[in-house]
């Protein structure tokens, strides 16, 4: 199958990137990790890395062209393969070390008509009958948890999926146009909205989205003061939540699954607690607002970093093993600040949310009132919050503690987190 190499999102507001170098031509053989192109925003030049090996089978742009971001820059496949075949095939897994702050290595976000999920989450085994019935009903086997021998999907699994997936026949979800929310992957059924953490932006979710095999539309939202919403300055946690509620309403989202990381996870809990949205499920990754302590030095250092090198030092706190922090993550995070309103907005937001080592807001009470499917994922080596904050959770909340993982489980254990989100969304559909 062919793999699409996407034009990276080079800035929050930019819809196009300029191609300044193409290191390959049609028919070239590319190795995984090769730099295949360079694209430019107003602020920086980004190298585009091949996340798989293959032969260049489509290359629609030339040097100097403007290419829309998050659309295919080229396709890699096998000799003789065409891109049409690529569209019909499931997209591949993203690179081993995904880059959350840019999308240099993300996979296709515009799915084929039958929304093919991006990644095989199961064992890949199935019975012939299960395959036939699933195909007849437009289900993808890799969206179905197998209970047969060694994880094989058998008929009872397909039957169960058919009962719980009426979404397969509903119309594709369409975002209203006047919104700063962005579709991460099209689909049908109840949307899944992703809320990033402090200092990040919606594009950070793209590598993870490629690992989530659901048919639901997946949508990214920038918190106020971040990314495309950098100019919307708010003060205090409640205002942050109100702003997001307003954005969701503007986008026409009334019923949703929420996936949040850190500050975004706390916002997700607060949104669920408001009661004006039909929240189907919550997946909370390293959520803020559970305990009082936060690594205040990190916040100060991260917000105040004036150089990429300084930013890198502070961002090392996010991951348990230093090599998990990709260069691209740091570079993109730094590039996002240059000339943008984001540093000022972050500074002011940080002052209203944190005081030294103290989180000035809590979602503990809201969490206790929660009445929907909720899964929480913590890295046991989180250096930003205390992982022990999760010791006293309401019984409804499922907790996954990941050893050897820091504050970015969605990067450090992307496969597992993708699977857990997938299971949460499916179980609550």
């Amino acid at each position: 199958m062919a793999d699409a190499i996407l034009v990276p999102q080079v800035g929050q507001d930019l819809t196009e990137a300029k191609i300044v170098a193409l290191n390959v031509k049609l028919g070239d053989t590319v190795a995984k990790g090769d730099i295949v192109a360079e694209v430019e925003s107003e602020k920086a030049t980004f190298e585009v890395e091949a996340f798989v090996a293959g032969i260049v089978i489509s290359l629609p742009y030339g040097v100097g062209d403007l290419a829309p971001v998050l659309e295919p820059l080229m396709h890699l496949g096998q000799a003789g393969e065409t891109v049409g075949a690529a569209a019909a095939a499931p997209a591949p897994a993203p690179a081993a070390t995904p880059a959350p702050a840019s999308v240099e290595t993300a996979t296709a976000v515009s799915p084929p008509p039958i929304a093919a999920p991006a990644v095989v989450t199961g064992s890949g085994r199935s019975s012939p009958l299960a395959r036939r019935i699933a195909a007849q009903n437009g289900l993808h086997l890799n969206q179905i948890a197998g209970t047969g021998p060694r994880g094989a999907v058998v008929m009872r699994d397909v039957a169960a999926a058919l009962q719980t997936q009426p979404a397969a026949t509903t119309a594709p979800f369409a975002l209203r146009s006047n919104t700063t929310l962005k579709s991460l992957q099209a689909g049908t059924g109840t949307p899944v909205v992703f809320l990033h953490g402090f200092g990040a932006e919606l594009a950070a979710w793209l590598p993870l989205v490629a690992r989530i095999a659901v048919q639901n539309p997946m949508i990214g939202a920038d918190l106020a003061g971040h990314g495309a919403a950098a100019t919307r300055t708010v003060t205090g946690f409640d205002a942050l939540v109100d702003d997001m509620a307003q954005r969701l309403a503007e986008a026409g989202i009334t019923s949703t699954h929420l996936v949040g990381h850190s500050l975004g996870a706390a916002v997700a809990v607060a949104l669920a607690d408001r009661g004006d949205l039909d929240i189907r499920s919550l997946t909370l990754i390293a959520p803020a607002g559970l305990g009082p302590w936060i690594n205040g030095d990190y916040i100060t250092g991260f917000v105040g970093a004036k150089t990429e090198a300084a930013l890198r030092v502070w961002m090392q706190n996010l991951v348990h093993a230093p090599d998990r922090l990709g260069d691209a993550m740091v570079r993109a995070a730094f590039a996002a600040r240059a000339g943008s309103a984001m540093p000022g907005a972050l500074d002011s937001l940080a002052r209203s949310l944190f005081e030294g080592n103290t989180q000035m807001f809590s979602v503990q009470a809201a969490l206790a009132r929660l009445n929907c499917t909720c899964r929480m994922i913590w890295g046991m080596q989180d250096a930003i919050f205390k992982p022990t904050d999760a010791n006293a959770l309401p019984g409804l909340v499922a907790l996954h503690r990941l050893p050897g993982v820091g504050h970015l489980p969605q990067v450090e254990a992307a496969g597992l987190v993708g699977r857990l989100i997938c299971e949460t969304v499916r179980s609550a559909s």
């Binding site: 019975s127 012939p128 009958l129 036939r132 047969g148 094989a152 058998v154």
Partner: protein
């Protein structure tokens, strides 16, 4: 209406009725006339039809089978009873190279309405040379029909049909079945070849079994029913011709198949049926086809070892569980 008969009585009725109906039918074999047969199938026939049509032979299977095949070619309807299927090996040239080929090699002018009645299977510690299930040898040879009844009614109806059709038939009874009882319809009862019988209807798993494995499969099915598993037991009755349509229809319904044969696993009829199913019903299958068969060994004399070498009810239960993926449930 129907009467309860033993398997051996039903066979006797079939021979008796066909001998009365058709003067060309005769029967020869070891101890079948004066003694009435080792399993008492031919008891009373000598008195009724006389020594020309009910005849004892020397212990000379090759000669008996040769006589039968020759008589059939000449236009008679012989039944040759061979005491154990193991002993048919002595007459394999007559069966395989003569009887099975004659129709083709004469351009269809010559026919061989030859019926070889014999019995096989393990049971009672009669050891390696008297316990084999050799249907696969005959199944393999084009030109032969292979019939293996499991009930008195089928035994009667199939034997009557064998004596009315024009090709060589290997009619294999089972030593354990002669004393079993079952209802046999009154009056004319003929069962055509190539028509499978659903011995028990069910929706969860198809168990295909023949001969003595049918009662064993039914026993397993009853136990599984108590576990909420609804098995269909399909008896092909004739292996050649095989009722493929009935098998495929059952698989289309249940999606899962267990094939039970007493014969050794290697090169068996079960493997061939499995290959037909996977080829023609692959997309109906929700689990690998399970074959429960005898071990690839000569049947031991020791009774415990004999039992261990052929399929038992527990083996069938386990195979059904496997194809329902039950071993993977907590």
């Amino acid at each position: 209406m129907a009467r309860e008969l033993m398997y051996r009585e039903a066979l006797r009725e079939a021979i008796d009725e066909e001998m009365a109906r058709d003067p060309l039918v005769f029967i020869i074999g070891e101890g079948i006339a004066e003694r009435g047969g080792s399993y008492k199938v031919t008891e009373g026939l000598l008195a009724k039809y006389g020594p020309k049509r009910v005849r004892d032979t020397p212990i000379a299977e090759a000669g008996m089978i040769g006589v039968g095949v020759g008589a059939a070619i000449a236009g008679a309807r012989p039944i040759v009873e061979i005491l154990y299927v193991d002993f048919t090996m002595l007459g394999m040239d007559m069966i395989v190279n003569q009887a099975a080929k004659f129709r083709l090699m004469t351009g269809g002018e010559g026919r061989v309405p030859f019926v070889l009645r014999t019995q096989g299977g393990a049971g009672g510690g009669v050891a390696a040379q008297h316990s084999q299930s050799l249907e696969a040898l005959f199944y393999h040879i084009p030109g032969l029909k292979v019939v293996m009844p499991s009930t008195p009614a089928d035994a009667k109806g199939l034997l009557k049909h064998a004596l009315r059709q024009m090709d060589p038939v290997i009619f294999i009874e089972h030593k354990h079945l002669y004393m079993t009882k079952g209802m046999v319809p009154d009056g004319e009862h003929v069962v055509e070849f190539g028509v499978a019988d659903i011995k028990r209807a069910g929706k969860d798993v198809t168990i295909i079994a023949w001969s003595n494995m049918v009662p064993r499969a039914l026993e397993a099915a009853e136990e599984l029913a108590a576990q909420g598993i609804d098995c269909e037991v399909l008896d092909p009755r004739s292996l050649v011709p095989l009722d493929k349509a009935a098998i495929l229809a059952s698989v289309a319904k249940t999606k899962r198949v267990v094939i039970v044969q007493e014969a050794v696993r290697r090169g068996g009829v079960a493997s061939d049926i499995a290959s037909i199913i996977q080829e023609e019903a692959f997309y109906d299958l929700d689990a690998p086809i399970q074959i429960v068969a005898g071990l690839n060994i000569p049947i031991p004399f020791n009774l415990a070892l004999e039992k261990a070498s052929v399929p038992q009810k527990e083996d069938v239960l386990a195979a059904v569980h496997r194809c329902l993926h039950l071993e993977t449930v907590g």
